[in-house]
Amino acid sequence: MRVLYRLVLFISVTVLMACQFSKTEPLPYLGPHRQVGDSTVYYRVDSFAFFNQDSQLVTAESLRGKVYVVDFFFISCPTICPVMTKHMKELYNLYKSDPRVVLLSFTLDPRHDTIPRLKRYAHKLGVSAPKWNFLYGKKEDIYATAPKFLISAAQEDDTDPLTIIHSGKFVLVDGEGHLRSYCDGTSKEEVYRLAEDIDRLLDEMTNEGHE
C-alpha cells in the first residue's frame, strides 16, 4: 500500500512539474524576424487606428502593454461568424475582470456595420468596450490592416485576400505588438488552447514586471 502511495505521489509531482514547466515556457514570436547584431528583431504590428462602437479611437499605440485577441467578422455573416462570436464571448467572460486583456473584432462590412449598428450588436451580446472593441473604418484600411495580423496565420495556398481575412482565425498579440499565437476561432478546443496561451502571456508580463 505504501509503495502504491509513493508511486501515485511521484507521478502526481512529476505531472505537476511538467505542467508548470510547459506553462512557464515563453510563447514563440510569430511572423518574419531579422538579426540586428546580436539581437533578433521580431515582427510586430506597427500602426493602425480605427473607431470602436463607442466612437473611441483604438490604435496600436493605445493597446501598448495590453494582451489582445483579434478577429475579422461582419454582423450579417450567415456562416462562421456566429460561432466565432460565441467563442470570443467565452474569452470575454474569462477575462472580464482582467484589464490587461482586450478583444478586437474588425468588421469586414463597414458599409452596413456602422458605429451605431456595432453598438447595438455589442449591447445585444451583453458586452462592452474597452474590453471588447468592435472596430470600424474604411474598407480599404481594414483590408490593408488584416494581413498585418494574419501574416503568420495564413496558409501558404491562400491567395484570395478575403479568404485569408475571413479565415475564422483568432490572433493573439502581446503588449509590444508581437504576434504570439493564433487559433481557429470556430473550434472550441482551439479557443481553449488560445486561452492557455493568453495565461502564459500574462505570466510572462508578470514575470517581466518583477525582473
Binding site: C77, D109, D160, L162
Partner: protein
C-alpha cells in the same frame, strides 16, 4: 446557402481584380477609351461586391424572420435573389478578365 457559399468564394477574386485593374490603369499607357472601359469594369466589380454584401445584410435567418407566407417560400425567393447576385459576380469577373488575364 450553397449558391451563397459558391458566390462568397469569389469575393476575394473581385477584390483582387479591382486591385489589378487599378494597377493597370495607373501604370500602363492606355488610351482614354481603354481607361474608361477599365473604369466601367471596376464599377461593375464594385456593384457585384456591394450586391453580395447587401444580400447578406437583408437576409433573415429563421429566428429573425417575420414575413408573410412560410419561411420556405421566403427562402425560395431569396434563392432567386442570390442567384442574380451570383450571375452579376460572374459577369463582372468575366468582363474584368479581358484585362487581368493579359497581366498574367
Amino acid at each position: 446557402m450553397a449558391v451563397h457559399d459558391s458566390a462568397m468564394a469569389k469575393m476575394g477574386a473581385i477584390e483582387r481584380a479591382i486591385q489589378t485593374l487599378q494597377h493597370i490603369k495607373e501604370t500602363e499607357h492606355k488610351s482614354t477609351d481603354v481607361k474608361s472601359r477599365i473604369d466601367s469594369s471596376i464599377l461593375l466589380l464594385k456593384r457585384a461586391d456591394e450586391a453580395m454584401w447587401d444580400w447578406m445584410y437583408h437576409f433573415k435567418q429563421k429566428g429573425d424572420w417575420s414575413g408573410k407566407g412560410t419561411y420556405l417560400s421566403y427562402l425560395q425567393s431569396e434563392e432567386r435573389k442570390i442567384q442574380r447576385v451570383a450571375t452579376l459576380i460572374d459577369s463582372a469577373l468575366q468582363r474584368a478578365s479581358q484585362y487581368t488575364n493579359k497581366e498574367k
